[in-house]
Symmetry: C2
Subunit: 336 residues, 2 copies
Amino acid sequence: MTSSSSGAQARRATILDVAAAAGVSRQTVTRAMNDMPGISAGTRERVQRLAAELGYSPSRFAKGLVQGARTSLGLAIPDLTNPYFPAFASSVVEEATQRGWNVVVDDFGHGSGSGLDAVARLEPQVDALVGYLGAASNDAQTLMGRRPVVVLDYPLGHAAGAISFDYPYAARLALGQLLAAGRRHIAYLDSDHDGAVSTRGLAVAAAAEEAGVELVVLQAAADSAPSAREVVRIKVERQRGVDGLLVFNDLMAAGALKGLHDAGWKVPEDCAVIGMDGIALGELVTPELTTLSLDLRAVGRAAVDLVDNLLSGAVEGRSPDASLVLKHRLVLRQSA
Amino acid sequence: MTSSSSGAQARRATILDVAAAAGVSRQTVTRAMNDMPGISAGTRERVQRLAAELGYSPSRFAKGLVQGARTSLGLAIPDLTNPYFPAFASSVVEEATQRGWNVVVDDFGHGSGSGLDAVARLEPQVDALVGYLGAASNDAQTLMGRRPVVVLDYPLGHAAGAISFDYPYAARLALGQLLAAGRRHIAYLDSDHDGAVSTRGLAVAAAAEEAGVELVVLQAAADSAPSAREVVRIKVERQRGVDGLLVFNDLMAAGALKGLHDAGWKVPEDCAVIGMDGIALGELVTPELTTLSLDLRAVGRAAVDLVDNLLSGAVEGRSPDASLVLKHRLVLRQSA
């Protein structure tokens, strides 16, 4: 097999390159490379020849030819049932697949599952790890040894790389919007993080203090829509003056909108609501959710790029270049 | 290492068994088994001793001790951004994890991705495959050879196993509900399945004919909420008489509710809406969505059980026992 690309830095040819060169669909390339029926002998030969020229090997061949040549990326996420996480996972899978990598996804949010369990399951199978690992971030790097771990939404610590979010900036954006709309009695709804205050919560509290706003903090039992709905329905009655509500994430904000509706409040007239994440759900609720939005495609790309750069040595682990900070933008819809 | 469980049929001890026996958390078991800091030497020894007695080996040890002892399940899903699929994936991951299996998730719904690409990527890594593979279902079994493939929502064909849904039953349930509420001008909204009518669509058409209802069929360009919203907003104006709407799935139904609202229609007064799937989203939209609901925990369990039985030989591939049919139930909320 010859290859038109050479050198360690050259991008591996993907199935898309072969499909484009042969002027056929991905499915036809797969059929040709796996000696499957449904295509002509001529097409099969032409695709196989182009694949050889471009240096493309599908995984089942690559496995036999060059053990370990295909990068395997582990992705640890805490809960597939919060739509933020599958949207993030989808973005990482898309970016990684374009590089010809495999992605092994581990959803550890079942019962008492912890991020560390996920890392222990993924570690024997992967070359690098990306994840929302929370307090397990440091231990994850210990388990992975010299292979890079990129943690999301958590300080760099021992991990080789980190992608975090500028919550002080996001909190100021959201509070600024509420204050500009004349809201003065502002509440923040978070979930119970084992008794601790979340990084987002700290940023909101600091921004409120900076703006001279006395912040009411509400806490839901769980990071879920029904839990947010329940706490808002019950507690908002005792907080008659509240006219603006910031919520930890969009899923809980959707629950909060329902809770306010249950209590007979109109949004945004009686109380404006701002969520955080920017998931598609925000456009399906009524009123549509104003939110601090992340570009999830950009987050996935940043995570996969960082892994790539750590693996190639272009970025050194735990160096300033290995710690990226992304910003939210405020998407104005109907709820605030 | 001794084991208190023996025989090929005995359930493998899991991390939960060890945690329960030692009276510690899963995280502590992981720390003990991986010689990590943060626990006492006494706890470490006690956990390791109990793990040995119970025959529990975490993956990183199992890998070294018994190559291939841990079952690896591939899961191919077409789109993580439709909340139905992550909810289904989450259920499969939970069931498989309880058996001590690994799950490799492949989301092939990006751009021109096909189920066959997913199978080609997963095939070298897994002992069995579960997936929403559509037209690639038969080729999937060819690629996997003797290892079982369980296809969802597709006829058995060449696959070892299949889980399908009783759409004629579901369609009769939904139409019955609309007719009982006095609705007479009923439409069905589907997406474009490469020009073909979906199995769900065929079942709805048959149930309508059975009930003597003339069915209006609307078709959205894509299986997405914005696409459903657009087609409903535009087409519903030309279908003034429509007073009941069945929708292909809940995600599209959420878009349809928005489209009716855009057009100034009240739900359910002007038009009742019924979705299909039963995902959590249905409780967050306004009005809350009446839907034909699947118990996704049961679907995940059925899929993993079937794989287990095919792997052990308890069920023979392509036999009547390898083809399961599950039923929806009608969950009444506010939209119909």
